[in-house]
């Protein structure tokens, strides 16, 4: 079954982009810094347009290299996204397993909770949570973790329902394998591929959500740069410095596309039966 190679060019394009982005996030901040000798514009700030000698994308209003700012933003966005996704994955899989194997009343409660979370718009709950905790990077992680796990939990539950009935699982149970052993040795490895695919797509969603909150001004706070924050900052000087809004928009969109391509490709690879609309 696994003989088929992963050939989809979009997936490889996505993977190459993400590798490049991670390298950029790690090493980008060490690129040649902004202005060595600030060139003061009439307002009195060393605000350079793109294509300047020392900074390819120009500098922001206090002379910091814009390319570097985007690299720092990549660090923030990727770190928050991956952290949230790890929490969601752990908690979601846990809840999914619980709702498949726990006694009926616990499972029923977990399922009701999951359904309830689906009925409520995520952004609204995230905004309420940030409203309680106040703006900042930590509340963003809390808010996105609380709103993100139900989709993974539901996926785990539906996947487990089919795998549970397969012969090798029935056989393992027949020879007396305890449930935790069954879950960790037989069931979860079977669904690791599909979980990886969904995690990629959800990671795109998380990065987008973090950017949205930061764009609104209630997420990651300046001076810590994030793509959403950079876009929000740049929109007031769109006329004079269009690259400052275009660059983070392009990087963010490409990241979201790349992760979606990877996720869709992996899903088609691991689970050929599922078709996507």
């Amino acid at each position: 079954m696994r003989k088929k190679k992963l050939r989809d060019p979009l997936v490889w394009g996505g993977i190459i982009f993400m590798v490049a982005l991670v390298l950029f996030a790690i090493f980008g901040p060490f690129l040649p810094a902004g202005v060595k000798e600030p060139v003061y514009d009439p307002v009195g700030l060393p605000h350079l347009p793109y294509g300047s000698a020392h900074a390819a994308l120009g500098t922001d209003e206090i002379g910091r290299s814009f390319l570097q700012r985007i690299a720092y933003g990549a660090r923030v966005s990727l770190l928050i996204g991956i952290t949230v996704q790890l929490i969601n994955l752990t908690f979601g899989v846990f809840m999914g397993v619980v709702s498949s194997f726990a006694p009926k009343w616990i499972a029923g409660f977990v399922m009701r909770l999951t359904d309830g979370m689906f009925a409520f718009p995520d952004i609204l709950l995230a905004i309420l949570i940030i409203g309680i905790l106040g703006p900042g990077w930590f509340p963003v992680i809390v808010a996105l973790s609380i709103t993100g796990w139900p989709s993974i939990a539901r996926l785990t539950k539906t996947q487990l329902a089919t795998i549970k009935e397969r012969e090798f699982v029935v056989a393992a149970r027949a020879v007396g394998a305890p449930t935790p052993y069954l879950v960790f040795k037989h069931l979860l490895p079977q669904m690791s591929g599909i979980l990886l695919a969904v995690t990629m797509i959800d990671l795109a969603g998380t990065i987008l959500a973090e950017s949205t909150l930061s764009f609104l001004g209630i997420g990651v706070q300046m001076p810590m740069p994030s793509w959403g924050g950079l876009i929000n900052n740049a929109r007031f000087q769109m006329n004079s410095y269009p690259t400052e809004i275009i660059a983070p928009c392009v990087v963010l969109s490409l990241t979201v596309f790349a992760l979606n391509f990877i996720g869709d490709g992996l899903r088609a690879y691991f689970d050929p039966k599922s078709s996507n609309v």
Binding site: D122, I127, I245, C249
Partner: protein
Amino acid sequence: MQLIKALSLRLLFGVVSLLIISFVTFIASAVAKGDPATYVAGEKATKEQYLRIRHQMGLDQPLMTRYGIYLENMAHGDFGTSYQGIHEPVADVLKRTVPMTAKIAFLAIGLASFMGITLGTLAAIRENRGLDRSILTVSTLGVTLPNFVLAPILVYIFAVKLDKLPVGWEVQLRGPEWMYLLLPVVVLSLRPTAMLTRLTRASMVETLRQEFIRTAIAKGVPPFRLITKYALRNAILPVVTTIGTTFGFLLTGSFVVERFFIMPGIGSKTIEAILSNDLPVIQGCVLATGAMFIGVNTVVDMMLPILDPRIREAQV
């Protein structure tokens, strides 16, 4: 009779959702740091004044009693007062901001439904041809592109370069209102349009393959009538359901769009309240937005049994 039963079941579900969301917003004030009584009493209050205000506000009562008081106050239209500025009642804030948000949301969902169903149907008729491919590609872009990426692009083209439309809302409108509403509504409707297009296409493609369509063609039903009366009528159900759920995405976008175009709606008010740590306003805004979401979903849910007798029977 069946219909009434199905409808009241959905109405009940809507009411229960409203209760849940009101409880969630109520809990917010209980877990938030800081005591509302200190805000109301002010910094100069003595210990006794503080305790008296605390008692007046019912903060010394058990949690569930306080929830009861909270619900009772809301039934009287009392949502508390803002901590900031002139201590404006939250009900007034909502009265001022909700119409704006509701206006752009309904215009956007209307535009999205019309565009999505039309484009999706066109794509399905021309399945796998050039038109279909291009509609699909554009809609894929539309689903993934966030609003705050799209909004600057459109503003840059239409407001900055061409200088035809205003950049954002103004206190004193200098022109007809539709000019100010055009860009926000278009930005807001893009994502729902893309989603509805893809869904309509998928549903129509499936319907067009069915045998009753072939029979209708053989009978000589004219093409336009075939599509609208025969195919679309059958394919539209999942689309109607999704119009309801897309409203959730619209709310998401509404925060961004209102903030971007500086519109005095509930979205920008919520963000303002969070930035100024104004809990009663945050609670009121989240509750009102959630109520709108539930309201639209309930209405859409109630339309389904009317549109499709099969659902009516399955429900009861």
